[in-house]
């Protein structure tokens, strides 16, 4: 009986910590993303791979690994039982994609490019118990000479 109470207490602590910190980290991340996306908005991105250009370019890549929090894990477990959209996980994957694209833009900015062509995104699930998602973005940065 004591063991059960102990487990419930541990669960509640993890749940509330996950809820508080997870929310805080997610909102901070989204604010940073909004701000930086405006900063790098001048870099164009397309997925066209048949472009002919006389400018020079090189391949760039970026990746990010984002993990879930305990609150989302519990929500997803409950949701898994009934089926339907896992909204809590959708937000993780979206944040990871936006972050990867942003880092790709930063990388392009660092080498002085303002156009990225042939962008590809790949998503991998890392953790064995789920919950860790990696997004890898790569493309060819073009340095336009005017």
């Amino acid at each position: 009986m004591d063991g059960l109470i102990f487990q419930i207490v541990i669960f509640l602590i993890l749940f509330s910590v996950g809820w508080g910190f997870g929310r805080h980290i997610e909102q901070k991340h989204l604010r940073e993303l909004d701000e930086k996306e405006r900063q790098y908005a001048h870099i164009r991105i397309d997925t066209n791979r048949f472009v002919e250009t006389n400018s020079n370019g090189q391949m760039i890549s970026s990746n990010v690994v984002i993990s879930h929090d305990y609150f989302k894990y519990v929500l997803a477990t409950i949701r898994n039982f009934f089926g339907g959209r896992l909204v809590s996980y959708e937000s993780i994957v979206e944040r990871a994609r936006r972050e990867a694209m942003l880092r790709l833009k930063q990388e392009a900015d660092r080498i002085g490019a303002n156009h990225i062509m042939g962008v590809r995104l790949s998503t991998t699930e890392l953790g064995m118990q789920g919950g860790m998602v990696e997004v890898f973005a790569y493309g060819t940065a073009i340095i336009h000479q005017f």
């Binding site: 993890l14 910590v17 996950g18 910190f21 997870g22 980290i25 997610e26 991340h29 791979r49 048949f50 472009v51 002919e52 250009t53 006389n54 400018s55 020079n56 370019g57 090189q58 391949m59 890549s61 990746n63 990010v64 690994v65 984002i66 993990s67 879930h68 929090d69 305990y70 989302k72 894990y73 993780i92 972050e99 062509m117 042939g118 962008v119 590809r120 790949s122 991998t124 699930e125 890392l126 953790g127 064995m128 919950g131 860790m132 990696e134 890898f136 790569y138 493309g139 060819t140 073009i142």
Partner: protein, 141 residues
């Protein structure tokens, strides 16, 4: 314990390979052509792969981070350097064929065992020549 051994292994691994000066001579592109160059000869498909596992120290941190959420910097770095190694292997193969560029590069990742993932990269090795910049024709205007 695992953390210390793994960090020592990491340091010696970093000293062994020096990517940057080799990568400069090989042009890489995820497009069907290298920007600013024309393909003069198609050679062969080249690929490189590496299987890496995470170490105990990073795993422990990731376990804690799983509760609060957010970015796992350790894994991000690990995957990045693993991909660099795979790319380096691909470049070595292309150099063996006598290529000076690799076009149409694609990456893929798969979980093959508990805690280990394979990073695979492939592309077409080609010989390219720089496009000579077109000078404005003095007689046309």
């Amino acid at each position: 314990m695992g953390f210390f051994i793994a960090s020592i292994a990491n340091i010696s691994y970093l000293q062994e390979d020096n990517f940057n000066d080799l990568e400069k001579t090989m042009l890489l592109s995820s497009l069907e052509s290298v920007p600013g160059h024309t393909i003069s000869r198609q050679l062969d498909v080249v690929y490189g792969s590496t299987v890496r596992s995470k170490h105990v120290g990073r795993d422990l941190m990731a376990g804690l981070k799983n509760i609060v959420g957010g970015e796992l910097t350790g894994y991000t770095e690990l995957l990045e350097e693993s991909r660099q190694e795979a790319t380096q292997r691909m470049i070595d193969k292309a150099r063996g064929l006598g290529a000076n560029a690799i076009v149409g590069i694609r990456f893929s990742t798969s979980n093959i065992a508990q805690g280990a993932s394979e990073l695979f990269v492939y592309g077409t090795a080609v010989v390219v020549q720089p496009v000579t910049p077109k000078l404005p024709d003095p007689f046309s205007s």
